[in-house]
Symmetry: C2
């Protein structure tokens, strides 16, 4: 059972009658004139992070940030959260206070509050955050329409390169900081929702995989042009020097936490006037396929790291 | 830093401006004519349970039940929940489906729905549930007043005896089932709230410890009479046979998930007319001390298992 099948199994097995449940970045329940959004993300030691790679304050902020990113992806305003913490005794009480200093810093930075939670000792460090937010017009994954522009609010691949460098023994670097420090696009999400974008997701598992999620939810296809993606010279150079495939990182790296959205050409004009920085990287097209071109020619995607995809150059979603 | 100090540290460090945050069974945020309650409990393998002692469906139901019990303790109606699951690969996909069959059974039994969550592989099995509920008049821990009756909706010590038997190598037994199968007192909680009880908590960490939480939140004292506690002949006999101190289990056992409440004598009369089963075990008194009597004489509480308390027979809370 892969992740998609698992989500399908859960959606079938657990219908949700209060609003929109499983299958988007956050659940949606109507409350008067707005929707309440709730999302939950877990981070587990030696699965999502190693304690040798990140300090506890940075880890605490990252745990908050990945949840904030889910609220951002619906165009929501984050409000408060619940923290479930499984904490290993080996780390000691001082480190626990440092962890909470990171939580506090995150609360200040992003204007959210700790509302409750649970604490337990644990073998592995385990962090479960449930974030509550609100939106008047939440943006779902399922609204993409043929003809929409596909936009992205920032570069991808930088966090994944940072992770590769960490795993390769590097200790500090621009890209490692990118990996450690997540900047959730909360303001951008609200601007995008305000301009009426049709579909949105945060890029957590890789650009193509997350784009596929929009396509699957919207039952539609897409064509993107690699050369339109924001890829810095710095990333290109670093990839060349350490011998990793830049396109693999950019297209499938993960943990970017930029927003990927689709917007009608008319509304894109309005969006341009907000001053928000974003890049148009392709179009939503009829059909069910996702095509990636490089200078107009289909890009072959069969590479290490593209485990989610079977058939290059056209990536089927069945 | 013990648990109480830790909670104090968090309350000081993390004020909550949307409603009532850290320090009760669930957070409270006003929504129109009612309050939204949210609680989060985590269960961790080899801390809260051993997989040799409980099946995955029973464990899933227990994870739901302990969260439902927190909603019950505020007099709330549980509605839906978020499940964060760290799942060890060693358990395999069939066991994962069995886990979700337990979640499904719990959803049916208690009328709640799965609204979202997160899934990851993990070394230890880790379950984080955030439960959302509602109440028109939520009952907090802080409302106990001198003269209140102290009531309890069922027996304590049975789950703790079950755990002792499990750890002693027994495999099946009335008390072991009591330990595995939690029955959250959701209906009772709503009846109690409807009758205007002053304070309420669910007994998860032991009768005396949870009573102390009411007393601390209400800045008041209490006197309870051991002989008024509901202790079955079955428990007494079993304790005698396996050589454990019955009173230790009853007073400090934990994981009972019955409701402990305080109610004014006038409202207690109203409560009697509802047909709800409960036991009056003592009174709220002025001062800050918790006294436990046995046949009118102070009970000495200095025993193994009473780690939270320093001074018998009078249990100070400073």
């Amino acid at each position: 059972m892969d992740e998609r099948e698992f989500v399908r199994f859960l959606k079938r097995r657990f219908p949700f009658h209060h609003g929109v449940g499983i299958g988007d970045d956050a659940s949606l329940v109507r409350h008067g004139d707005h929707y309440q959004l709730i999302t939950q993300d877990i981070l587990i030691e030696d699965v999502h992070f190693r304690l040798t790679d990140i300090s506890l304050p940075d880890l605490a902020m990252k745990a908050l940030a990945v949840n904030l990113s889910d609220i951002a992806a619906m165009g929501g305003l984050p409000e408060y959260f619940y923290l479930g913490l499984g904490y290993p005794e080996r780390l000691g009480p001082e480190e626990l206070k440092r962890f909470f200093s990171g939580i506090k810093k995150g609360c200040r930075r992003w204007g959210v509050e700790l509302a409750g939670g649970d604490f337990s000792r644990s073998g592995q460090l385990f962090i479960a955050i449930s974030m509550v937010g609100r939106a008047r017009r939440p943006v779902r994954r399922s609204g993409a329409r043929a003809g929409d522009w596909i936009g992205i609010t920032g570069p991808t691949g930088e966090s994944a390169l940072g992770l590769k460098l960490l795993l390769g023994g590097f200790r500090d670097d621009f890209f490692i900081r990118r990996h450690r420090i997540v900047r959730p696009a909360v303001a951008a999400g609200q601007i995008l929702a305000g301009c009426g974008v049709n579909a949105m997701i945060d890029v957590s598992d890789g650009l193509l995989l997350d784009l596929e999620r929009i396509l699957e939810a919207s039952a539609i296809g897409a064509e993107i042009e690699y050369r339109r993606l924001p890829v810095s010279a710095r990333l290109k150079n670093r990839c060349r020097r350490v011998g990793v495939d830049e396109r693999e990182l950019v297209l499938a790296g993960g943990e970017d936490y930029v927003l990927l959205f689709t917007v009608s050409p008319a509304r894109e004009k309005r969006l341009r006037q907000t001053g928000l920085r974003y890049h148009l990287i392709g179009r939503i097209v009829s059909g069910k396929a996702l095509r990636v071109n490089d200078g107009g020619r289909p890009l072959c995607l069969k590479r290490h790291g593209f485990d989610h995809f079977q058939e290059p150059p056209e990536v089927g979603r069945r």
